[in-house]
């Protein structure tokens, strides 16, 4: 039993699914009620994740709030959930972004098929929360794959012009990436079975396992491929621009804010601690790919004329930087990477929400169509400014607190890579400030844009506030992240 004496984590994970079912208690026309149910359940789930934080015993490295039960005993598959310092804030971030996604869906979408839309969204939330909390590898894979289904239907049905293509590409790429991971999971289970005579896929039982070198290489390869597609790491990123751009804004927020983090999380939770030798061996290769991702993403972002596409490529650059930090495998770089995963999720969500607001007002995403928006919509301009500054890593905002620590860690290990990675931040300032300037400043276009509505303000403001709070008080997070990360680093060092 966990510290609560109560399966809080299970409740948090499955609550959204309950909401997804309850949505159908209403008639098709009761759009308002459906929205309220969706908001209520995401908000309740978010409160639940905050309770996790409140009762979290900080300073401890192990899993907390663990719920365990036999699921398929014949295969040794367990239902096992738990959080530690690495996953806690990703869980909270996920729950927060789903609330944001529901709020941004409020006026954005036509009223047809709303029950299906919110049911899928809530279903996806259960999948995402499951990914971040599953402690059994098969259960993890189940959540990982199941989550694709609602994402596929959300993009395919409510996305932009090329939505079907984007949805299919997203689904097939991710599934192809993670296919071999399933075989690797089974093989890993078999390695344990042949050593101990019992089937288990529980992460706690697998930790510290000595795996033969060539087996490690193969298994690490299979896991890394899955996570590299999801994050994404160059050259497995080609699904990203299509999916981010074609998805409806709320889904883009989720894709960029939290789904990509599943790849990052997979690396630090499974790929690195389970296959320590292989992770160290392949680390530099992946880091070079990550640096390429930082530079490539930044350069492509510089020449984009489409709002969403620009930010999509910037997201590629930022996530690549996180991956760079992960594979330096020291406490600083990895803690920075986890912190930055959370903070990137916060400001990228704010950015996409604001871009969505711009797009609905203008009916286009073409940057050239905008100009001088600040005059007509000062609140929007102000919000966008903060989001842009957060994303370029201005000290005092959250990205700085993450990227600085991350790069410091990388610098201690590999100076050249750190310098190249930092170059990405300079490019970042360049393309993001250019974006801001071209949209908000300059000569105003003839038709004035309406400013943010009250709802939009309520949606975005908390994100920006969080960016500020975490920027000023990064220790709120680091005090919980660092012990968990240090345990991973120690395990790798002691291999």
């Amino acid at each position: 039993m966990n510290q609560m004496g109560f399966p809080l984590l299970t409740l948090v994970v499955w609550l959204p699914l309950l909401g997804a079912i309850l949505v159908y208690a209403f008639r098709r026309e009761q759009v308002k009620a459906v929205k309220v149910v969706a908001l209520g359940f995401t908000a309740l789930t978010f409160v639940g994740t905050l309770l996790l934080w409140a009762f979290f015993r900080s300073g401890e490295a192990g899993y907390q709030f663990v719920d365990r039960a036999a699921w398929i005993p014949q295969f040794g598959v367990e239902y096992a959930l738990g959080v530690d310092g690495i996953s806690l804030f990703l869980v909270i971030l996920a729950a927060l972004l789903f609330v944001v996604a529901v709020l941004t869906s409020w006026r954005l979408l036509r009223s047809e098929g709303m029950r299906g839309y919110f049911a899928l969204l809530l279903f996806m939330e259960t999948g995402v929360l499951g990914v971040f909390t599953a402690l059994d590898l098969v259960l993890f894979y189940v959540f990982w794959e199941v989550m694709l289904v609602p994402a596929f239907f959300l993009i395919g049905r409510w996305g932009g012009a090329k939505r079907v293509r984007a949805a299919t590409k997203f689904f097939i790429y991710t599934m192809a990436g993670s296919a071999l991971m399933l075989v690797a999971i089974l093989a890993l289970g078999y390695v344990v079975y042949s050593a101990t005579g019992a089937w288990t896929f529980n992460v706690a039982d697998l930790a510290g396992l000595r795996i033969p070198w060539y087996t490690q290489l193969a298994l690490f390869g299979a896991f890394a491929l899955a996570f590299a597609v999801k994050a994404p790491v160059v050259p497995f990123h080609t699904w990203l621009p299509d999916a981010y751009v074609e998805a409806p804004t709320p889904v883009t927020i989720l894709l960029a804010g939290i789904l990509g983090k599943m790849g990052v999380y997979g690396f630090i939770r499974f790929a690195i601690p389970l296959f320590r030798d292989a992770a160290v061996y392949f680390g530099p290769t992946i880091q070079i790919l990550a640096v390429i991702g930082v530079l490539y993403g930044s350069l492509i972002a510089l020449v984009q004329t489409d709002l969403k596409r620009l930010v999509a490529y910037s997201s590629l650059a930022h996530v690549s930087l996180i991956v760079l930090g992960l594979f330096a495998v020291n406490a600083q770089s990895m803690s920075g990477a986890v912190f930055q995963s959370v903070s990137h999720g916060i400001y990228i969500a704010a950015l996409f929400a604001l871009l969505g607001a711009l797009e609905t007002r203008k009916g286009t995403r073409d940057i050239a169509a905008f100009g001088g928006v600040w005059k007509a919509a000062p609140v929007m301009g102000f919000f966008l400014l903060i989001a842009v500054l957060a994303s370029v890593g201005l000290p005092g905002l959250n990205a700085f607190a993450g990227e600085f620590v991350l790069l410091l860690g990388v610098f201690k290990a590999q100076k050249a890579l750190a310098v190249l990675g930092a170059l990405g931040m300079i490019f970042g300032a360049w393309y993001m400030l250019t974006l801001f300037q071209r949209v908000m400043q300059g000569a105003a276009k003839p038709e004035a844009l309406a400013d943010l509505t009250g709802l939009e303000k309520v949606t975005v403001a908390p994100l920006l506030l969080l960016a500020l709070v975490f920027g000023v008080q990064p220790n709120l997070l680091y005090s919980i992240i660092v012990p968990a990360v240090e345990a991973v680093v120690k395990a790798v060092a002691a291999r």
Binding site: E145, V146, V149, F152, G156, V164, M175, A176, V183, A187
Partner: protein, 481 residues
């Protein structure tokens, strides 16, 4: 030796209901068709109950030609499930497509053949059972008598099925020539003393021919050519019944024969089947990619699934066989469900099987579209459906027995298959239906089949434990370790 009919109670019940339904058919009018259907269903349910009642008994009968054991009794349940679902679909098909009432009798006869095939421990009995099954299926395939493609399919199936039977018979003859016995246990005893392949060319040739015969029957590459045309041409309920039940019967018998009569050549036939598995699933999936007809796509997909199932046979171990049985149940549910949807889309003279006919189905028939999407995801092997755990079980058996590469090939195939399964889902959910799209009508029995298979597909995907326990108990008498 007395013939102990009690051991064959499930088979006897089916036979009795064959006679009863035939009798009603001979005497009755057009209106008795529905009665025949319900009686056939009652027979299937009773036979299923009898299989469960005799669960745990192990006995030989008919001079040791037929065995009643957990394995055979469990296999009965798979066949009866497929038959029951097919009969329910038939209740609608006789009205909608004007199928003759004989379909119910023929389904029962084919089921009888399957059940005997699953219990046969003598090569002559294997052949007889297979013929009972096959001949009923030839007629069933051609049962939409005023539909040209149904007749063509029946003819093709008959001719190619005849070839397969000939191969099988030839193989049996060679095995008899080498060992002097038809009994599987006898072949094992004789064969074991022949020890290596070189010393037993006749027996080996016999095994090869036997394998070819079975490969024809369960549609393994390179003996799958008949499948797409026959599956597409046959009435949907027959296709569902064939692809689930007949295929299951073939695999069940194949496992029993290989494991009982040829255990000393496990490595050889294991590798042969592993190669066939790779060819079968790859060919099935590649060919399915380009299909514009959902029914024909499902035909190719059934070839691909046969490829996944062969993996479980190829690994030649208890977990492998258990995974095959589990896969067969799961496949029966999701595949019959998918064909039930295909059938619901069709009308007399208008099959409406094209991808275009499914466009925007979510707005016309949301329930049907949701169920079809579920079946597609299950066939693709997405978690929380039976299809995922079926694959997981087969793959884990492969990994454990040192065939991890085979599991890797299979899962890459599963990704390829996701593309064409998703395309159906994408059509149904993302497209706008044509204004002149034919109305879709779902009657009570058909709706029941769709709902039942859909619910069972999810249930088995979430809570497979009881079924897995049942299967592991069933497999115990067959493989003594």
């Amino acid at each position: 030796m007395a013939i102990d009919l009690q051991v064959l109670a499930p088979e006897a019940i089916i036979l009795a209901f064959v006679l009863i339904t035939l009798f009603i058919y001979a005497l009755g009018s057009k209106r008795s068709t529905t009665l025949m259907g319900w009686l056939a269903l009652a027979g299937v349910v009773l036979a299923g109950a009898a299989s469960l009642y005799y669960w745990g008994d192990t006995a030989l009968t008919f001079q040791g030609m037929v065995a009643a054991d957990g394995y055979g009794l469990f296999a009965n349940l798979v066949f009866l499930l497929a038959a029951g679902l097919a009969i329910l679909m038939g209740l609608e098909a006789v009205r909608r497509f004007d199928l003759p009432a004989e379909v119910f009798v023929l389904i029962l006869i084919a089921t009888l053949g399957m059940m005997l095939l699953g219990s046969a421990v003598n090569l002559v009995a294997v052949f007889l059972a297979l013929e009972i099954l096959s001949i009923a299926l030839y007629v069933l395939t051609a049962s939409e008598r005023d539909e040209w493609r149904s007749l063509e399919a029946g003819m093709k199936y008959f001719i190619l099925g005849g070839f397969a039977s000939a191969f099988l018979l030839f193989g049996i003859a060679m095995i008899y020539g080498a060992t002097g016995t038809f009994s599987l246990a006898g072949v094992a005893a004789q064969g074991a003393s022949l020890s290596t392949l070189r010393e037993a060319p006749l027996l080996a040739a016999g095994l090869v021919f036997l394998l070819i015969g079975f490969a024809f029957k369960v549609a393994l590459v390179p003996f799958q050519m008949w499948t797409p045309d026959v599956y597409e041409g046959a009435p949907s309920l027959v296709t569902a019944f064939m692809s689930a039940g007949a295929k299951a019967a073939g695999f069940v018998a194949l496992i029993r024969i290989l494991e009982t009569a040829f255990p000393y050549w496990r490595t050889e036939w294991g590798w042969a089947l592993a190669v066939i598995a790779v060819l079968t699933m790859s060919w099935g999936n590649m060919a399915a990619l380009g299909q514009r007809s959902v029914k024909r796509m499902l035909a190719y997909s059934s070839i691909a699934h046969a490829g996944y199932i062969v993996i479980g046979v190829a690994v030649a171990a208890r977990t492998g066989y258990a995974s095959v049985l589990f896969y067969l149940i799961c496949y029966t549910l999701m595949n019959v469900g998918a064909f039930a949807v295909v059938m619901a889309m069709g009308r007399k003279g208008e099959p409406n099987e094209g991808l275009d006919d499914y466009t925007g189905l979510i707005r016309r028939k949301p329930g049907l579209a949701l169920a079809m999407a579920l079946f597609m995801l299950a066939l693709a092997g997405i978690p929380l459906t039976a299809g995922f755990l079926a694959k997981l079980y087969v793959f884990s058996a492969a990994v454990v027995e040192g065939y991890a590469w085979l599991a890797a090939v299979a899962i890459v195939n599963a990704v390829i298959s996701a593309y064409y399964y998703l395309r159906v889902a994408a059509r149904m959910f993302f497209g706008e239906a044509r204004a002149d799209a034919a109305p879709v009508h779902v009657s009570a029995p058909l709706g029941f089949v769709v709902a039942l298979t859909a619910l069972a597909t999810v249930f088995l995907g979430v809570y497979p434990t009881p079924l897995l326990e049942f299967i592991q108990a069933a497999i115990r008498p067959l493989v003594g370790f």
